[in-house]
């Protein structure tokens, strides 16, 4: 089996990050998205951990897809995913322990994140190893982008900072990297954005924003198509 062409890879990446973005289009895996998006560091870390699991689980599941009996596929997939999550869990515990404590239960819960199983079921069990690995990883990256944007927005509105908690990842020296967009002395705080309602409202705005961008692109494409066609033929198509 040959490795995929660049065009194929581009199609998979575009599909994963934009067209079927798991956070704002498929709206899967809401539990970690809503809870862990209260700042950039939490959101991106969890997103990257998920991406890593999905990269390996996509490849592993695609590799054994021919031998898995159809009736037993769910428990087998879950078993593989759970084993991978345990590895990520142990790795994070040893290397970024402070962050591990903050993310807490949501690392083991990557196992039950429906995005991971959904991609295993919908993509990895039907496609080759390289394709599945790529799909899994970029689906995770798509989620990471959503978590990052949502985290940045909530952090900025809620506390007026960006990258707070970065010392959990890079050690105490990184404490000064935190960006105080609103000066720290002002004691600015808007708790709502940090609390769960902020996650729901923020995600709602992200979904609406994605839809608006899509619609604008669609309208532009239609205009371009209209301009390209002879004037007489356009009438019937303008309503679709």
């Amino acid at each position: 089996m040959s490795i995929m062409s660049w065009a194929e890879a581009k199609a998979i990446i575009h599909n994963s990050i934009w067209k079927q973005n798991q956070g704002v289009v498929a709206i899967l895996g809401m539990c970690p998205v809503l809870v862990m998006s209260n700042n950039i560091i939490n959101g991106v870390s969890l997103g990257l951990a998920t991406s890593l699991v999905m990269l390996v689980s996509g490849a592993a599941i695609a590799a054994i897809r021919e031998f898995v009996p159809n009736e037993l596929r769910s428990p087998i997939f879950i078993l593989i995913i759970a084993a991978l999550v345990t590895m990520v869990d142990l790795l994070m515990n040893s290397y970024v322990h402070d962050l591990y404590v903050v993310l807490g239960i949501f690392i083991p819960l990557i196992t039950t994140n429906c995005i991971v199983l959904a991609r295993a079921e919908a993509f990895a069990s039907k496609n080759g190893v390289a394709h599945s690995a790529l799909d899994g990883f970029f689906m995770g990256i798509g989620l990471t982008v959503v978590l990052g944007i949502l985290g940045a927005g909530r952090e900025l509105i809620g506390k007026g900072t960006l990258l707070s908690g970065i010392d959990l990842v890079f050690g105490p020296a990184a404490k000064s990297w935190v960006i105080h967009v609103i000066p720290a002395e002002w004691n600015y705080q808007f708790l709502l954005a940090i609390l769960p309602p902020g996650a729901f409202i923020g995600l709602g705005f992200l979904i609406a924003g994605k839809m608006a961008l899509d619609r604008r692109a669609e309208a532009r494409a239609r205009l371009a198509a209209k301009a390209a066609e002879p004037a007489g033929l356009v009438e019937g198509q303008s309503h679709c």
Binding site: F190, L191, L195, P197
Partner: protein, 353 residues
């Protein structure tokens, strides 16, 4: 002579809103008497913000601005919100609360008539969740302040946060009656003689001076009731729910649970009963549904006040029941006129009558 059948001409929304605003006026007058003109500043700020936000949202949504702006619904929302925030709160609080009420709770859900939640209560809930400290900074009633603030000082405090003569806000601050009772109960486990302090005795017959504001709300509410602007079921069942709960608990242990009068004339109970839970958009529409709705809010308000973390529970109770309103409506549909009450869909389609 004119005979039946008559057509009932629906009252235009503008008239409804005008009457609701008019019914709030006596309470605003008493409010000014008790707390000073700070509340008028808050009302003005809220009204201006509401109109500006409403116009901006309508413009963004490509709706005609003028008819919606003139229907008065935004102004009523703004007034209800301003009346539930602390009278000497900083100017940005009422502005932010109104902005959220109109833009998020009303227009994001589809505008007038589409909002599942009462916009004013969402604005209030956002504020009390986000700024618990600022939201509990109530000034004492003017009569209880050692040197009452004059109008200019109140105005200056709202806009600059500074008081004349270098006195701190604590000098004129006082917890609300509900807050005071809650704190005393947590600290001492019993009411003791807290109800004999001036905050409570200055109210005369009513539990505190704020009780008189509540009485004015009641008067305005009765006007709305008799001019058929609001149905009787919701306020009555709310008062019954809250009052009966309070009465039962008060009888059980008077040293721990305050009287029903205290609960009905404290906090936002009367404002809620006649002006907030009667919102025609976010409440149920069936008569039986309204009874269930009002009573549930009453009971829930009591539970939140007495056992919950916040001193007053009207806003949260209203929001919770708002989202239950479609469900209540579905199960309380009255029988269609001319049919027996117990008929359901399958028997209607049956061959035999």
């Amino acid at each position: 002579m004119i005979t039946s059948p008559f057509f009932v001409k629906p009252t235009p929304l503008q008239v409804v809103m005008l009457k609701v605003a008019a019914a709030l006026l006596p309470a605003i007058a008493v409010y000014v008497h008790v707390f000073g003109i700070g509340i008028l500043v808050q009302l003005t700020l809220a009204t201006l913000t509401a109109l500006a936000t409403e116009a901006a949202c309508l413009k963004l949504r490509k709706y005609p601005v003028k008819p919606f702006l003139l229907d008065g619904s935004a102004i009523v929302t703004a007034w209800l919100l301003a009346l539930s925030l602390p009278p000497l709160g900083a100017w940005w609080m009422v502005v932010l609360a109104t902005l959220i009420a109109i833009a998020v709770a009303k227009h994001l859900y589809g505008g007038l008539g589409q909002n599942p939640f009462n916009p004013a209560m969402i604005g209030f809930a956002v504020m009390i969740v986000s700024f618990p400290a600022q939201m509990s900074r109530w000034a004492a009633p003017l009569a209880l302040q050692s040197g009452p603030l004059d109008a200019g000082a109140q105005l200056a405090y709202i806009f600059t946060g500074r008081l004349p003569g270098g006195i701190g806000f604590d000098a004129i601050a006082s917890a609300t009656p509900l807050d005071t009772v809650k704190t005393v109960l947590i600290q001492h486990g019993g009411l003791g003689d807290v109800l004999q302090t001036t905050l409570f005795t200055s109210g005369g017959l009513l539990p505190s001076q704020m009780g008189w504001i509540a009485l004015a709300y009641l008067a305005g509410g009765l006007y709305l009731l008799f001019s058929r602007i609001i149905p009787w079921q919701t306020p009555l069942s709310f008062i019954a729910g809250l009052g009966l709960m309070a009465a039962a608990m008060h009888l059980y242990d008077p040293n721990h649970y305050t009287s029903p009068l205290f609960h009905l004339f404290g906090g936002a109970a009367m404002l809620g009963a006649f002006f907030i839970i009667t919102d025609p958009v976010s409440g149920p529409t069936t008569p039986r549904g309204r009874l269930i709705f009002g009573a549930s809010i009453g009971v829930l308000t009591y539970l939140i006040r007495v056992f919950g973390g916040y001193p007053d529970g009207v806003a949260f109770a209203v929001i919770i029941l708002n989202i239950a309103a479609p469900f209540i409506d579905q199960y309380t549909q009255p029988a269609v006129f001319g049919r027996k009450a117990k008929q359901n869909d399958s028997s209607k389609k049956g061959a035999k009558p």
